[in-house]
Assembly symmetry: C2
Homo-oligomer: 161 residues x 2
DNA sequence: GTATATCCGACTATTTCAGTCAACTTTAGA
DNA sequence: TCTAAAGTTGACTGAAATAGTCGGATATAC
């Protein structure tokens, strides 16, 4: 079992997508700027998210990514899964055969843990998350920082160029 | 967050210890034979378990390891923790500072997941586990295989030596 | 004193993560 | 039609962790 930056970034990026959905496709460049994730790395992640059927792409200028389903129909477990981070805690991938084809002493324990984790992550949709006030305020902060950065670049251009 | 063979082996070995506690100290050699874990690797793990205060050692012939507390006072979370496999799902180690010193979008989500996992693992003691019938029967199977192996070695010695 | 055990440190092969880089295709808009 | 903005793809990398192995040192029951 493993949850690393890869899976966390994937959920973060999907949330960013859900939050900014109303203004058309969202470019990876925007997500990169707001969430502090490298553009190249995002490209890798979105290749998997697209293959997993979670997002659809729009190429060309003004393009980007859209959720392929409503945010209320996408849960966190799916997102983590799509980038190949299995939340399965067993060693045998639920087969019960990790000691000479038989169950090891701890098989049932890890099975139950897996079910707990899966139930938790499966029960939370992107739509639910973006309703939360702590997430809304974090998103607002990120948006205003992004706007300031654009303003700063523009005024620097005015002065130096 | 990470749960790999290291943490699983640690729990397996501690369970084996708890099951065979009544017959004095248990040697790593016995655990290795019953659980199919390499002796050298077990030595590494038990060094950490000992440093973590979960087991005590008895050196010399007939020696081995004992639980340093009653099996009802040792929970699974402690064991996994002792071998340095953190079940913390956050990126910031609960500090809430993983994006420029501020909370990232998903901080609270991972915090809640961490709490779920910890509550689950913390709530299960070794004593509870060795009461379970599926674990008892697995342990019985392992014991009889180990006995057969010893018998086979002895009779082979009789024939060839 | 010897066999049995724990202790300890160094070593290694493999895998994954986290990220970079270069080159390519598609397409909106001037 | 040209260009720049975007996605698409594959190869590459450094660092870290995993899952061990190996050799030897130390303690101790018999
Ligand atoms: S974890 Fe399933 S058999 Fe060991
Ligand atoms: S996970 Fe805690 S701030 Fe990002």
């Amino acid at each position: 079992m493993r949850l690393t930056t890869k899976g966390r970034y994937a959920v973060t990026a999907m949330l960013d997508l859900a939050i900014h959905a109303q203004s058309g496709p969202v470019s990876l460049n925007d997500i990169s700027g707001r969430q502090g994730i490298s553009l190249s790395y995002l490209e890798q992640l979105f290749a998997k998210l697209r293959r997993g059927g979670l997002v659809a792409s729009v190429r060309g200028p003004g393009g980007g990514y859209r959720l392929s389903r409503d945010s209320s129909e996408i849960n966190v477990a799916e997102v983590v899964d799509a980038v190949n981070e299995s939340m399965d805690a067993t060693r045998c991938h639920r087969r019960g055969d990790c000691q000479d084809g038989e169950e090891c002493l701890t098989h049932h324990l890890w099975l139950e843990l897996s079910d707990q984790i899966h139930a938790f992550l499966h029960g939370i949709t992107l739509a639910q998350l973006i309703q939360r006030k702590e997430i809304r305020s974090t998103a607002d902060r990120q948006d205003s920082i992004a706007r300031n950065r654009i303003d700063a670049v523009l005024s620097t251009d005015d002065v130096t160029g």
